[in-house]
Amino acid sequence: MTTATPERPKFTIKEPKNLSPRIKWLRDYYFQGVKRRWNNEFTAWTTGTPWDFQYQEGQYYIVPETYTFFSTFTGAFKQTARRVKLHPDFWKWSLPERHAWFVKEVMVNYLPHEILPGDLIAGARFNLQASTCLNKKEAKQYRKMVYGKHGARAAILWFHNHGYGNVGATSGHIIPDYARVIEKGWKDIYADISEHYEALPPGEKKGKKGAQLRAMLTAATMAKEVATKYSQVCADLAARESDTARKDELLQMAKMLNRVPWEPATTFWEGVQSLWLTHMLVMSDESYPGPGLSFGRIDQYLYPLWQKSIGEEMSREFGKEILKCFWIHANTAYDAMIRTGGNQGITSGFGQVVTLSGMGPDGKDMTNDLTYAILEVIDEMTPILEPKPNIRLHRNTPDQLYDRIIDMISSSQGAPFLLNFDERSIAGMMLEAKKAGVEHLINENNVYDYAPVGCLENTMCGNDRSGTVDINLNLLKAVELALTGGYDLIPYTDPMTGKTEPPKRYGPNTGNAQDFKTWEEFWNAYVRQTKYIIERIARLYERTDEIRARFLPTPYLSCLVRGCAEKGKDINEGGAELNFTTLEAVTYATTVDSLLAVKYLVFDKKVCTMKELIDALKANWVGHEVLQARAANKAPKYGRDDDTADELGKKVMELWTEETWKYRSRPTGKQFRPGMLSWNYWISDGYILPASPDGRPKGKFLSNAICPSNGADINGPTANVNSVGKVIGGKDPGGNGHWQEYCNLLPNGASHTMTFNPSLIRDPEHKNKFKSFLRSYVENGGSCLQINMVNADILRDAQKHPEDYRHLLVRVTGYNAYFTAIGRELQNEIIARESHQI
């Protein structure tokens, strides 16, 4: 999942440029959305049994907005599902074999194979709601585990409604071993699986392992058979084509598709074709379109072919043309729900991330001509959402790349990419290796080949599933429970029945906070409640993890992840070599600020008693406005480069991350690891969690990922960055960090968003200053940064909610002002000017 992007106002929309007629047509056609004759919306397929179903609601447990639609979606897909004629032995096979055969059958023999006009890449329809292929007994067990009184669905609703967060074993969010397919072809994977199968002792061949490997063998020829179909389509189109240039392209495509992705790619075009077909079929296999399914270091593994083809007959422009077609294809993932929602199904929530640039061995920079070509493609295609680029920066990133990046930022409101920071990220991966005892898989000799999935969630490539969106915990819940000794501060009222729960102690009895004499007593209560919420979420996760492991295999994806063939285990059963799941902490700054406020108000300054504070929170601050103002304005906050406040922030970070490492999901052996993504829960859960001691009323946003609370970072961007760098782990000046001097408690990484005024990069001199800021971020900051260049809409919002924008500087020569500190009339003038400039 990626961080939600607010809709951009009209005047800021950047226009695409330098598009050939072919690409312009494809792009314009794509944006016609529902008006298109062709699209890639979900098609549902059934085995024809009365108990069959397609929709896997567990994939969406992490999207609370969808909870109320589960039954509708399940019913709708079931009703529209077309029956597939089953193989006579179908019901004799194991579940993974049934799944592998069924998905392949649909993709090869049922779903149409089409080439859009001018398209250089084959592989159009892939969004499936395939049958889960369960037999009657399995379906019954599944239903009990999901819908039963003590089923996963009810447990997850309870968890969400009580403000803890959400969990769900979610698909995508992985970088399959695409590099291997391109370099060695599917035939290499097939041979490898065969070898493992043949090596099994006869007993195991008949057992679970044998079934899994047979399923993977079936799946391993899917791409080849689909490619053959497309080859025929290209040949047929070529026969009817009158334009000789296009005819030639189609003939070449027909030829290529007879080779790749089964054989190794020999040209850049073949490489991209092989990559796309292989990638799209993962989405078919999982019945899950796009989210987080990422490409990894595309400018590295495609570079040898790029170099080779450029050296032969391919022009650089044609290479970019191939990439642009690939870009269009990635966007068709959004077609899945094209008729649902206000924006033709196009949301920002997908995130087939491509990684660009970054460090190689010995700190060497790996930027190459393909890196720049891809940046050109992005610049020329933008605005377009997929695939999302994440550019890796490090100490040796060349000036040329920075200049290019900053030019691209300056021509758009927000950067059209994320920036990942290698040294910090690598430190996190090295910590993970140590904590999980996988130093043979992540070490100094390969850690530089890490790449993010989804947005910024760092993983290794081709052998790592880290469940980076699966577990989302509101740390703030522990503050609430510490205040009440384990009760909900405000008992939950069911909006449907209007019934309020009787008070019940859920967390440990940490005592009556009103009797605490010292801050340490309160802190200790918080520690115990934190341990409780982490244990609770870990145990809840196991239930969805078990359902997926038992009933929802993905043998095709398993072929593409090292470890599955060796272990004879599906990826969903924990087959990946690196078998993790990530606890993504939400509400971090709100939690730290709340703890700081309790310490300041009740213990240090004795502004109020604990009872007064709790009463105020129960009343949502109504009638306690002066106390609320003191909490918001007088208590210290994280994000100001205040060493004392940030020290508590670090302590909070150490506590919850250390606790997270203690858990493994028992059904799959997945090791828990910490991260801070937050997706958009910090907005919606603000309506669930009660008022917090930092002065926040119920209904107001919580803090986003590792960012300071809205408006708290009053000392400007450098202070904000320094605080983030300190709490994520800081540095060890002696060089004894997790990697060199860098420490990072969050191997997954943390989302950090900053907003700047466009005037900051108005001319070359100021662009250079901004470049230095980014180079400093490498030293002092976190693992990933998203940049927004402020627009008039944000300024208007700042007028409405000045408390959220106290950090927003309006910069004019010789004079700097905080936007919210100047009068309304002048604010309007600046807004008008901002709109004018952009």
Binding site: N633, D641, S776, T813, G814, R833
Partner: protein
């Protein structure tokens, strides 16, 4: 001024002879407009000039001043109850400060729960300030930036300025002094050795006009500028000098003034000055005047047009100064 305010209120500053203290208004981190690179700007309190257009009126008086921030106020009246002199009242326009009675003690700012009462001006020690100023050392190093002393007029507190700058130099931090040029030459001599860059204001060439605009004639300004020039030429050729000229409508923003200043720079500062910045008038400080209860004659003056600024930039470039060093900055009128 019996009440001493410091940045970190919980720790009383240790003031020793080695570490003098000074009165500052504000610390601006990530400053990109006050010299090369990314800088932290320290705004000193107190200024010898009374420029009619002053953008930082809160930095003119040497002592602390209280102000009320309307958009932060929650109307709780805590400040009124706190004030022992009874100089605060609530009116339809909000909190009114009787400045004839108010001693700027800061008690109301201390108790205001919303930080709507703000005390401008804090006494800080060099050590305290250094702790803050070194926090961004990475940014200074990566950008060729550093620390700029501005104000107000840093040269009104020369001992403090010199002590601060020398300690920054010890830490290898690049330093800049932003000065209006009105100060004793001796004070300048004390500070210059610790300054890498001098940002020197030249506002108006005509002495009488300079007097009318700022309350001082420009003789001292030129004398001190010559002193800086000679110092750089004779003793410290690696130091940099930037000239800054505010473009103020119906005051300094005349082609005559810009041409005169340009000729002066061309004739006297050749080879020493690296940049001449023309800083366009800005009216964003309107609210600051209102909050401080000071009438401002530029209250209704609009921003300059782009054409007007470009014309003056052309004058500057044709004045004999190396045109490459002329840079015009600042916002222009939208209707332009």
């Amino acid at each position: 001024m019996s009440h001493v305010k410091t940045i970190t209120k919980d720790t009383s500053p240790i003031q020793t002879q080695q570490a003098p203290s000074g009165m500052i208004v504000h610390l601006q981190r990530f400053s990109t407009e006050d010299g090369p690179g990314i800088r932290t700007t320290v705004f000193f309190k107190g200024c010898p000039l009374r420029c009619l257009w002053c953008h930082n009126p809160e930095s003119i008086a040497t002592g602390p001043q209280i102000q009320w921030l309307e958009n932060k106020c929650i109307g709780c009246g805590t400040c009124i109850k706190t004030c022992q002199l009874g100089c605060l009242t609530k009116s339809e326009q909000g909190i009114v400060i009787d400045r004839k009675v108010c001693t700027n003690c800061g008690d109301c700012a201390e108790t205001c729960p919303a930080n709507a009462m703000e005390l401008l001006g804090k006494r800080v020690s060099v050590d305290e300030l250094l702790d803050e100023l070194t926090k961004d050392q990475t940014y200074y190093e990566k950008s060729g930036g550093g620390v700029t002393l501005s104000g107000g007029e840093p040269m009104m507190q020369p001992d403090f300025a010199a002590a601060l700058l020398s300690r920054l130099k010890e830490k290898g931090i690049n330093t800049a002094l932003d000065t209006c040029g009105v100060c004793s030459t001796k004070a300048l001599e004390e500070v210059l050795p610790h300054t890498d860059i001098v940002l020197f204001d030249l506002k108006e060439a005509d002495p009488e006009k300079h007097y009318n605009f700022t309350g001082h004639d420009n003789q001292k300004v030129f004398d001190n500028l010559f002193h800086v020039r000679d110092y750089i030429l004779n003793q410290a050729p690696q130091k940099m000098l930037w000239i800054r000229t505010p473009l103020i409508p119906e005051a300094t923003a005349t082609s005559e003034n810009i041409l005169s200043l340009g000729m002066f720079i061309a004739n006297n500062l050749k080879g020493v000055v690296q940049r001449w910045e023309l800083c366009a008038f800005n009216n964003l400080c309107r609210d600051k005047y209102r909050r401080l209860g000071i009438a401002w004659q530029y209250d209704n003056t609009p921003l300059m047009t782009r054409a007007a600024i470009q014309e003056l930039e052309q004058c500057a470039k044709l004045s004999g100064v190396d045109p490459r060093i002329v840079i015009a900055t600042g916002a222009t009128r939208i209707t332009d």
